[in-house]
Symmetry: C2
Subunit: 405 residues, 2 copies
């Protein structure tokens, strides 16, 4: 089958490499090998193995009827949305690693694929090389998904691991991540949680059947995490992790958030360190399942793209029934109305806290100042909790972090 | 779509329950619901929700052209092999949780499915509710699988966890597992590794493309693990786990074995305790991925069966290209020729060991007798290592356990 790669950066070049180096194993599964006819990129790649396939003109791919399969690894929504839509409408299968595109326009593109009876697959868009979307959609299809949450960004997890294991302040850990090539020069999309938000939207859309937009998901990054809070986590049996989190509420709405969480050590998610990703799915029948591996990097991400390409090539005339419904602006519950436990660190009078909150679990840390009051709350609506915290006399909140339960 | 369940025990009744209780979510994915028309079992189930579907006659299912989909949860090969083959030949999709059947006759049954252009799927046969076969076959299709290994039996892992965490002797831990319903009255298939062997064969057949028979895989259970060796593992940063293990060798053959292993604490497999299952796949492109969850139990296992049933119903006229090649009696390397590190505990003279083996890592344990000599060997062929160990003067081997590297 003739194919094209759009975007020849980290992921796209990895796809080229896998198709070349593992041609034997791919050929063994297919009647016809996958052959790259075009590589779309505005840059030149002198000496590259696919140099003679390079084009700067998208129309070459769109108008070539021989090309039945395209891997989109451009990133961003412009021009990826327009390109992808036109390819699908032209009856070509498209696979993608582009989480921003899927999180923003997944519903529209899946619909275009359905109309044209072709596949639009994007296993690489969440968890990089970790198989998660296909297992979630197919293997767990008989379950109501109660919760799905995970560590979806390797850069921030690397930083948090350094803060946790080596008491390294945030700025120093970020600088180290940049030095090692794990973080961009402008690290804001990772650090502030936008990347995790997109992946969370994709997980939620698959799990709950309606398109969830990044704008619907309250998103907080890791910039405000203090070494002091890391120390309390360590001393009391918790990790601190940046999670994308969604849960189906009894109301039928969903609680979706990107935020740092206190994670109990016993949870499998607590075992995910450095640049690795890990995702927990809780189904009503299967209970808890956990997926772990490399969430980024050229070859792991390309491995997921190539898996999708092989699936398309193997079943070229057989569209997979895969997709979700339209947006529903009221589907995500206002976060202040969601229930959770919280870790709270503040300064003030412990007796005032006891009087106001009653049953809370106080945390201790050797050598802490006498007026530092730190505790885990019972589960409560955030708005209600905030009101109760604000009403405590002589108590100044320094940090408030959600607790995974 | 009209369907049947064959075998209404732990798994089969779970399938009935999920189809009933989660009919809403299943209907949302399918144009037509999955409706159970027959349940095949020799027993009666008075008062059961599917009581009026019960039949003792297989021919009722085989000869009913309305039935397009059958879940086989009978276990064993007789009559499951004959029944499954005839159903596939009659053009019905079959899903199965039956690891013994797949490990023994998978090649023949997949071929029968191919000829009839129907699906034979068995996600539930390995790892129970844990999605592993579909991710391995589809998501990782672009990888050469370097290794695949895992904790594939909850009963033995529960026993080992008790031995490890509570210093409980094997017999006592087994009795507890029986009391809690985790182990059968006759626990031999679990304890001696036969159950793990079947699952290992299925993983190896998918990963390496040729049918691997249980008879080809050297299998050792957990009966001979001593608390003394558990103590050495704990004191030196290891867990002891019963693993199904396969690795592609440079020769093109595979190293496949079921055996207890010393597992380094840093490996994700070491985090799998109690009755849980966990599987690591190492691909040449994706590196290491890990899957974790409930490997047994009515609803988790049935969750996997129902996922397969939905896949069949969703793509009823679209057979998945899934299968593997015929047996090759020379494909599995003789175990004595495979390389590995070993943990060795013996009695004798440490200097004689040093003289014979040179570079080995000696392990210590507080209060150990002076003549107890314990070490981890370098990687070596087992036959060569055995010869060298046997040649050490005044050294009596008490235990030898493979080390996961």
């Amino acid at each position: 089958m003739k194919a094209a790669i759009m975007g020849y950066g980290v992921v796209g070049s990895g796809v080229g490499k896998i198709l070349r180096e593992n041609a034997d194993i791919i050929a063994a599964k297919l009647e016809e090998p996958i052959e790259i006819k075009y590589v779309l990129d505005l840059r030149d790649f002198p000496g590259d193995a696919l140099e003679d396939k390079l084009t700067k003109n998208f129309e070459d791919i769109l108008n070539d009827d021989e090309v039945k399969l395209v891997c989109e690894a451009m990133g961003g929504t412009k021009p990826a949305y327009d390109f992808t839509k036109r390819l699908l409408e032209a009856g070509k299968h498209v696979v993608s690693s582009n989480k921003e595109l899927v999180a923003t326009y997944g519903f529209e593109l899946l619909n275009a694929a359905k109309k044209a009876n072709v596949n639009y697959l994007f296993e690489a868009s969440v968890g990089g090389g970790v198989p998660i979307l296909r297992p979630l959609w197919q293997c767990l299809a008989g379950n109501h998904i109660k919760k799905v949450y995970g560590i979806l960004n390797g850069t921030t997890n690397f930083i948090l691991t350094k803060m946790y294991n080596e008491d390294m302040p945030f700025e120093q850990a970020l600088a180290l991540a940049q030095e090692l090539g794990y973080a961009e020069k402008d690290p804001s999309a990772d650090i502030a949680g936008a990347d995790v938000c997109r992946k969370t939207c994709i997980l939620a859309s698959i799990s709950y059947g309606k398109h969830i937009d990044p704008a619907q998901v309250q998103t907080q990054g890791i910039e405000d995490i203090q070494i002091r809070d890391v120390a309390y986590a360590k001393a009391n049996g918790y990790e601190i992790k940046l999670l994308g989190y969604c849960e189906k509420l009894e109301s039928g709405k969903i609680d979706a958030i990107v935020s740092p969480f206190f994670v109990p050590k016993e949870n499998q998610i607590a075992t995910v360190s450095d640049v690795f990703n890990g995702i927990v799915v809780v189904g009503d029948m299967v209970d808890e399942v956990f997926f772990y591996g490399r969430g980024a990097g050229s070859l792991p991400t390309a491995s997921a793209c190539v898996g999708d390409m092989i699936d398309c090539a193997m079943h070229a005339d057989k569209r997979k029934n895969f997709g979700w419904g339209a947006r529903d602006k009221d589907f995500v519950e206002n976060h202040s109305a969601c229930q959770s436990r919280y870790y709270v660190r503040g300064t003030g009078d412990i007796n005032a806290v006891k009087k106001a909150l009653g049953e809370v679990a106080f945390l201790s840390l050797q050598g802490a100042p006498l007026d530092e009051v730190v505790f885990l709350t019972e589960a409560a609506q955030e708005s209600e909790l905030d009101a109760r915290l604000a009403a405590i006399e002589n108590f100044q909140i320094e940090a408030k972090i959600r607790v995974l339960t």
